[in-house]
């Protein structure tokens, strides 16, 4: 698929250059096409994940979930989308208008920028540069600024408390996510995602060292906490804060937060897949005599591997979300600062020793 896609892009490029004289017009059209492609993929993933989560959580609770609109209710999400568009956007009296309407933009921008740094299949990626992992870590925490702005500018006590909790939680767990990925950077010797992919061609990082397994577990917990879901959903704890930082948002302005949340779920799972589980690389056995098995695995297209593994991690996240009760805020911060942070620091040191002595 990836090679066909690249062929298609090349054909479009040739078609445009042969028909249009000015080079800047060609570039402009290509930029618009790329941008629309990204936006469509982003929106489609959000829509898919919404229906996926609704069905999965229904089955966890022995319900059927949406089953009226279309087969198995799969068109429910489009009905919801239309409905959220025709809901009234309630104008508030005493809020900071500029910050209030800038907040959804910052949330969406943060997750779209992270989305642009991912790799989706062999050769299908927006940008590929030498600080890839670092870039993903850096821009994925832009969204929290939007969340803090939303909470503050709403002039509502619930949203203020929710935003403060969200800030404390996201910056705390950011550290563990960062340090667990650093363990992989030590092993792979590069921050470039393509180099990391190449290093995982024979064996995924998860199988290369015992400390990558520890790093993956730490990363999964931290990433789950960063999406404000599951047992870590204190920022929007509906039984105490009604909805947390987006309690005053209505209509489509709430929809942006909702879409951003689901895309962050996908992005975190995709980063975990790329960095730990081999990304779009097929599963290979690095032994002699396994060439047939490896060839069968190679026959599966790379985008199936990428999205399959990502969906697996998303399913894990949903499973945790619908199974465990909510933590208290002091328990949450204790988990990060007293358990996960010492573990991740020790893991980095052990990984460095492993690389220096074993490799």
């Amino acid at each position: 698929m990836s090679l066909e896609l690249i062929d298609g892009i090349n054909k479009i490029h040739e078609f445009l250059t042969s028909n249009i004289e000015a080079a800047w017009v060609v570039s402009l059209i290509e930029y618009v096409l790329v941008g629309l492609g990204f936006l469509t993929l982003y929106a489609l993933i959000a829509l898919f994940l919404i229906i996926f989560e609704r069905k999965i959580c229904a089955y966890f609770q022995c319900r059927l979930g949406p089953n009226r609109v279309g087969p198995w209710g799969i068109f429910q999400v489009f009905a919801d989308m239309v409905k959220i568009l025709i809901k009234e956007i309630i104008p508030l009296k005493h809020n900071d208008k500029l910050l209030f309407y800038a907040a959804p933009f910052i949330v969406i921008m943060g997750s779209l920028l992270t989305f642009g740094g991912l790799q989706f299949a062999e050769g299908v990626h927006g940008v590929d540069f030498n600080v890839g992992v670092f870039y993903l870590l850096a821009v994925s925490s832009i969204s929290i600024i939007g969340v803090m702005l939303a909470g503050w500018s709403s002039n509502n006590k619930y949203s203020l408390i929710g935003a403060m909790r969200s800030g404390a939680q996201v910056i705390s767990f950011e550290l563990s996510a960062c340090l667990s990925m650093m363990a992989i950077v030590i092993l792979g010797g590069s921050m470039n995602l393509s180099d990391l992919m190449a290093a995982q061609e024979d064996v995924w990082f998860i199988f290369q060292s015992p400390f990558t397994v520890v790093a993956l577990v730490i990363y999964l917990i931290a990433a789950h906490a960063e999406t404000n879901r599951g047992p870590f959903d204190l920022p929007e704890a509906e039984s105490e804060l009604t909805a947390g930082y987006h309690v005053e948002y209505s209509g489509i302005t709430f929809g942006f937060f909702y879409v951003g949340e689901y895309c962050n779920l996908f992005i975190n799972a995709a980063i975990g897949t790329l960095v730990f589980l081999g990304g779009w690389q097929a599963f290979h056995l690095p032994f002699a005599g396994c060439e047939g098995f490896n060839a069968v695995m190679d026959a599966i297209p790379s985008y199936v591997w990428m999205f399959g593994k990502t969906l697996l991690l998303i399913f894990l996240s949903l499973w945790v979300r619908w199974t465990f009760p909510r933590l208290r805020i002091d328990q949450l911060l204790r988990l990060e600062w007293k358990i996960m942070l010492p573990f991740s620091l020790a893991n980095i040191l052990l990984m460095a020793i492993w690389v220096a002595l074993v490799k």
Partner: protein, 117 residues
Amino acid sequence: MSSYEIFVIVFIMALVMVLGGSVIGLLLSPKSKNNQKGEQYESGIPTRGTSWMQFKVGYYLIAILFLMFDVEAVLLFPWAVIMKGMGVEGLYAVSFFLVVLILGLAYAWRKGALEWK
């Protein structure tokens, strides 16, 4: 296409998405005026006062500690990239750094900065 332009494209696309969505929402949605509607939501009872007041941010020590560890992560990433080539020497070099850092965490822990008050 050179790669860095993607950031500008993505930035504009975020703007397009939010502005486009808001405009469609504003055009399609009904509007009604009501005296109480614009008040801040407080579970149904009349809103009391503003939320823009002095309040205790119980998380400020966490934020300061985060700053320390995040800068540390920025300093460690370049080391992590070249660790493979440096071998045991890189290990010696970074273990001093990490020991100082862990001492800092232990100090904060001992002083009770990580406790919830």
